[in-house]
């Protein structure tokens, strides 16, 4: 089970002791407000930190160190959770018991991660110019590469247009023009603010006990002078001007994305019902969208819905033929209407509930899933008690599903179309 501990003001450790795995996981997240002014900085920062430290001054010496630690990995961790953006590092490392000749991994690993966080290579009172410039280039290509996956691209364009004016309309990694503006000095100044002021969440999953990890971590945080600033609570998306956009690109298959708004977030009482509703409607191979729009009517190859619980937004994505756009749109709305009217078979309801429950039951079966679930839940203001959540899901009825379906409002759409022959 998860144990929580405040190591210093604003620094929380969430520890899950588990001896079943081959590897441990540790994430360190500095929590920031999701804002246009700093989104790109928060995305860039961990990438620059991973370029070198005083003791390990380049990529090669870092990788060699990780090789020594039995192929451990450290990567950037930049999440968007509702109105917050996190910036930090995620690491996975083999459990000590599998090492040869009694080698230790956890302790040196933690020391190494904090060297990456706290001892960056410095130049003229800022980060290394060449590290920052090359990581800016990398970040810009990552941002632009979104276009390569047309499904992801269409979905993000929908949210961008639909949620203008809300933090949810901002792309997770910031925008190209904001990345371009960053300098080695400005990023360093931001880094000091992040270290000193942000609330910090640390997750550990592995065989060591909480106290051992806490002692190792506390020692590290003593090196930082902290004046923590607390963040305002999460807000729901309040809606705004609708947006219906069609964009032409050279694609073989068109993408249709539709956005819906609901006052229900994962902090609401009806959250479990909304999760079940989303699954009945568009989650997986037994959903109404899949069974009807794809299987029965062959209107699309792929179709599904996604519910963003932190914000109260639901989206539908479908890969369709160009000429079937209107029919697909109508049919998607017709399926939503069926949910609103409570036209849901007992099998549909049971399958949806079982799908949600099954994903909750298996959260504890991998270090990555444990970290992912609890780290996100803690930030979105959800209860960490999986059992209570599962009970709420079990209790959802057809009436509950119909009720929350009625609270959804169709808001915006985005279509990516081929140029035609």
């Amino acid at each position: 089970m998860i144990e929580t501990m405040e190591l210093r003001s604003g620094v929380h450790l969430y520890a899950c002791r588990d001896t079943r795995f081959k590897q441990g996981a540790l994430s360190i997240q500095f929590v920031r407000p999701m804002k246009k002014e700093e989104a790109a900085c928060n995305a860039l920062l961990p990438a620059v930190l991973l370029r070198g430290t005083e003791e390990y001054p380049d990529l090669r010496s870092i990788t060699l160190r990780l090789d020594d630690l039995y192929g451990a990995s450290v990567s950037t961790l930049v999440r968007r959770v509702g109105d917050y953006q996190t910036t930090g590092l995620y690491c996975s490392f083999m459990e000590d018991k599998f090492a040869l000749d009694g080698d230790e991994i956890l302790k040196p690993m933690l020391e190494f991660v904090f060297a990456l966080l706290l001892d960056p290579v410095m130049e003229n009172g800022g980060f290394s110019e060449s590290f920052v410039e090359s990581e800016k280039k990398n970040l810009i290509s990552t941002i632009e590469a979104e276009k390569n996956d047309k499904r992801v691209y269409a979905a993000s364009q929908l949210l961008k247009n639909m949620c203008r004016g809300d933090s949810f309309g901002l792309p997770r990694l910031g925008e190209k023009e904001d990345v371009e503006k960053i300098s080695a000095r400005s990023l360093y100044a931001h880094y000091r603010t992040v270290l000193e002021e942000s609330p910090v969440q640390i997750f550990y999953v592995g065989s060591a006990d909480k106290e051992t990890v806490a002692i190792l971590l506390t020692k590290q945080f003593e090196k930082i002078k902290r004046t923590p600033q607390f963040l305002p609570p999460q807000t729901a998306f309040s809606g705004g001007e609708e947006s219906h956009v069609t964009k032409v690109m050279d694609v073989a298959q068109a993408k249709l994305c539709m956005g819906f708004v609901t006052p229900i977030t994962n902090r609401s009482e009806d959250f479990a019902a909304m999760q079940v509703m989303n699954t009945v409607f568009g989650g997986g191979m037994t959903s109404k969208l899949f069974m009807n729009v794809r299987e029965k009517l062959s209107l699309c190859y792929s179709v599904g819905s996604f519910y963003y619980g932190t914000k109260g937004v639901m989206t539908v994505s479908a890969g369709i033929d160009d000429d079937k756009e209107q029919t697909a749109r109508d049919e998607i709305l017709a399926q939503l209407d069926a949910c609103r009217k409570g036209n849901i078979t007992p099998e549909e309801l049971a399958a949806a509930k079982e799908a949600v429950l099954s994903s909750l039951r298996t959260v504890h079966d991998s270090p990555g899933a444990i970290e992912g679930y609890y780290a996100t839940a803690a930030l979105s203001g959800v209860t960490l008690d999986l059992k209570a959540y599962a009970e709420a899901v079990s209790a959802v009825s057809t009436e509950n599903v119909a009720k929350v379906a009625k609270m959804l409002t169709y808001h915006s759409s985005f279509v990516l179309k081929g140029a035609g022959q």
Binding site: R20, Q23, L59, L69, L100, G284, G319, T362
Partner: protein, 425 residues
């Protein structure tokens, strides 16, 4: 049922071969809620030519994947809905050399397993549903045509190989699909979906004897003949073409390149060949290599760069890819560095560190049920018990890695595939 302990990995495996020829492996994972089963046939996209009961078949490209789609139909029943009702998540995939059907669940494991065994062993291909499936796969082909990652790889295979069917996309083409008939699907099913050509691999807190008994009950005890795969192709160890180019709506040019290697042998030698190939990739252009550092610092590669040794039935290659404005320079640098490495060798301490790191990553990977099942099945078909890998790491010598680099990383064995951005319209 034999029980094997692997103390270095803290694993315990129950294994048996049933009378009908099916291999059953159960990796015991006490204390886990999640359970997973992989039911896999040693039959993939490249196995279009085969002989069954004295008859030779040349099936159209894409038939293995088509068959995978069609297996989900049972007369008068809805397989997906039945899995969903059990709370299990079912899926399948077709690779170049195998087809896997798998599910995960937390409850109702035995019921879900029965359903898996039933639907995969029941051929049912009504004419009109075969016709309808063509439309669905056309859409999937359309999706692949829009995916630069898929396109860049498929083009590379056409460049690198002259005859081996890895040249042909797993999905086949819109034209080849039109030649698929219920009769051909039935023939493929008879030839390769027979227990003696399959493996059932289960991971989780389950009873291995019950798993084997259920497989016996559903599949029957009769041992049926397996189709004989024909491999008429002959590949020289040189690339068919040096490079190829395409244009798509991508943000930045991307590339894949590969060096043709001799096909990996069967048995324990297969994983040894793969580990040697992987270590060669690591030494040559892995993240801790001097070459990676130089190209990264010069901005020629970025964090999207990666590669390794790939092995498919009767073909193998050392491949790498990523985003870059100058893939040709990467090729030159790799060729130059390989020659230098083969000449100068690797420091002893560096080689040990590389092995330790690679082995650590393989051990960590065992936390993923999916990846573990996949590897157990793939290595089973190559005749190797996957969990014996730590011993192979202990044996691999530096000379093998250098010999591989010297032999494989040569100009005439290399093909490069690039996709450039289209001009904005």
């Amino acid at each position: 049922m034999t029980i094997t302990q692997y103390p270095k990995l803290d694993e315990k495996v129950y294994a048996t071969v049933l009378q009908n020829g099916l291999t059953v492996k159960v990796v015991s994972r006490p204390g886990f809620t999640r359970k997973m089963a992989y039911f896999v046939t040693d039959f993939g996209a490249i196995h279009t030519d085969f002989e069954l009961e004295d008859k030779i078949y040349h099936a159209p490209a894409g038939i293995a994947h088509f068959l995978e789609h069609k297996m989900f139909e049972l007369p008068g029943r809805d397989v997906s809905a039945e899995f969903a009702a059990l709370g299990a998540n079912v899926n399948a995939f077709t690779s170049y050399d195998m087809t896997a059907y798998h599910f995960t669940c937390s409850e109702n494991f035995m019921e879900s397993l029965r359903l898996l065994l039933e639907f995969v062993s029941t051929p049912y291909f009504p004419e009109e549903s075969v016709q309808r499936e063509m439309g669905i796969i056309d859409q999937e082909i359309g999706m692949n045509e829009d995916s630069p990652d898929t396109r860049v790889f498929e083009e590379l295979m056409k460049c690198l190989y002259r005859q081996h069917p890895i040249r042909v996309p797993i999905l086949g083409s819109r034209q080849s699909l039109r030649q698929i008939t219920p009769e051909l699907l039935t023939a493929c099913h008879r030839a390769f979906y027979t227990p003696a050509n399959m493996i059932l691999c289960v991971v989780g807190d389950v009873n291995a004897d019950e798993v084997a008994a259920l497989a016996n009950e559903v599949l029957g005890t009769e041992r049926k003949p397996v189709g004989r795969k024909l491999r008429p192709w002959q590949e020289e160890m040189k690339a068919e073409r040096y490079d190829c180019n395409g244009w798509m709506e991508v943000a930045m040019p991307m590339f894949q390149m590969a060096f043709k290697a001799e096909p990996a042998p069967k048995g324990a030698a297969s994983i040894r060949a793969e580990i040697v190939g992987d270590l060669a990739a690591e030494a040559l252009f892995g993240e801790s290599s001097p070459l990676y550092l130089r190209l990264y610092e010069e901005g020629i590669i970025d964090s999207s760069f990666g590669g390794g040794f790939e092995s498919v039935d009767d073909c193998a290659m050392l491949a790498c890819g990523g985003d870059s404005y100058d893939a040709t320079a990467i090729r030159e640098a790799i060729l130059e560095r390989a020659a230098q490495l083969a000449e100068e060798g690797i420091e002893k301490a560096d080689f040990l560190r590389m092995k330790r790191s690679a082995m650590g990553r393989r051990i960590r990977d065992l936390d993923s049920f999916d990846s573990m099942c996949f590897r157990i099945c793939a290595y089973h078909f190559s005749g190797f018990d996957y969990f014996d890998f730590p011993a192979v790491y202990a044996q691999v010598r530096q000379e093998e890695v250098l010999e591989f680099l010297h032999r494989v990383v040569a100009k005439e064995r290399c093909a490069l595939s690039v996709i450039d951005p289209k001009e904005e319209t």
